[in-house]
Amino acid sequence: MSTAIRWFWFASPQTFLPLAGAIARWCALGAALLAAAGLYVGFFVAPTDAQQGEVYRIIFIHVPAAWMSMFLYLVMALWAAVGLAFNTRLSHMMARAIAPTGALFTFIALWTGSLWGKPTWGTYWVWDARLTSELILLFLYLGFMALQASIEDPRRSDRAGALLAIVGAVNVPIIYYSVQWWNTLHQGASVSLTRAPSMAAAMLTGMLLMALAFWLYSIAVTLVRVRCIILERQ
């Protein structure tokens, strides 16, 4: 019983506000340190790739961004579902605060991907299954944000966005598999994103460091944004 009360203690925006500030500060610091370490490993320690040369170094940004873009959508849908189920305002605020960061990482993943694609594949864009699903994911994020932005009543805006996020999350696997199937059906581009079988340990370290940095960055930015939303509404 007492644990149940503790669980919901920070569900109140007022009590969450200072906690969010403290967590955000530490996460931002951690993100900066990890990103510095990750970039150092990525640029100076990791060896040059035998096949792709220096170009491959963009994966230190690209792959963590792509991970975060997909993961953040799930987290957003989870908060949305919690918000609809328990009717907690803070959960809706979290979902709302995550969306811009998710959209940003989706965009970064697409952008760095196309920069990498030009020298490697010879084209900025191919209708590869992963690229296409990432693009549709960006559309889902933008649709979520557009819906929330166009409803003025905060309660309706929160709940409408939450329902859309859940419907989207149910659709994401269907979209992913249908796009994959479509691509294999058409067999247009023969390039695939599957990487060379072995990856140097330093590359992996750099990538994981950057992924952790992106995690902490997402948490920090989301919490800062949540604080803004809380202050704006109360």
Binding site: L84, I136, F139, L140, L142, G143, A146, L147, S150, I151, R156, R159, A160, L163, L164, I166, V167, G168, V170, N171, I174, I175, S178, V179, W181, W182, L185
Partner: protein, 222 residues
């Protein structure tokens, strides 16, 4: 419960019959959009045969989207929708009936007229059936998924464009499977796989979408 559903479907069909021009507009839009493509990309028969299924499917998507705005707005305007919300009938049943009525008015005519467009694109005679069947299985999904978006954007400023932004990404699997089934048949392979998955999507949408539509209506009208 079924009586309620039957009443709503009957009523919506009657309303559509009394204002046939609305139904006609969406259908005409479908035909016009599909007819514009040859003007844009050129009238090479080989090219048209290649893009035909996709173009007809995209036109069907847009046409279905066009008529979604009207799905709830008239009922919302005159208060009927609130009566439905307050009424004894379960809201998901009401939502399913509205979706079915929308499909009968906006989806079924597309299925029936699609072979005519297939003729324009010089598709092989054997593909007409596959195209019509894929539309028959796919358009109900469009109506049901679209109804979720229509319920969410009910009464919003600029709801039409927003609706397109919300719903079109969700239509992607239907488009891929629908156009893919015709391409498959055109390549001389059996389109059963795609059609079965389309059917599965239709069943899934029929089971789950009414609840989502009902929840969206409650959110929009509370």
């Amino acid at each position: 419960m079924l009586d309620v559903a039957r009443c709503i479907v009957y009523r919506d069909l009657l309303l559509a019959l009394r204002r046939l021009s609305d139904v006609g507009t969406a259908l005409l839009f479908f035909v016009v959009v599909a007819s514009l493509f040859p003007l844009g990309v050129g009238a090479e028969p080989d090219l048209l045969r290649a893009i035909g299924p996709g173009v007809i499917w995209v036109a069907a998507l847009l046409s279905s989207l066009l008529s979604l705005g009207r799905l709830f707005s008239a009922d919302h305007g005159d208060g009927t929708l609130e009566q439905m919300l307050l009424g004894a009938a379960p809201l998901p049943v009401v939502a399913a009936a509205k979706g079915l009525a929308h499909w009968l008015v906006a989806g079924l005519p597309l299925v029936l007229i699609a072979p005519l467009l297939a003729l324009q694109y010089d598709l092989a005679a054997g593909l007409y059936g596959v195209l019509a069947l894929s539309l028959l299985l796919g358009t109900p999904v469009l109506s049901l998924l679209g109804a979720i978006g229509a319920a969410l954007t009910l009464g919003l400023r600029g709801g039409g464009v927003l609706l397109a932004l919300l719903v079109l990404p969700l239509y992607v699997p239907v488009l891929i499977l629908g156009a893919g089934s015709v391409d498959m048949a055109a390549a001389g392979l059996a389109p059963d796989g795609q059609l079965l998955v389309l059917g599965a999507l239709a069943v899934l949408a029929a089971v789950f979408a009414p609840w989502a539509i009902a929840a969206a209506l409650r959110i929009s009208l509370e």
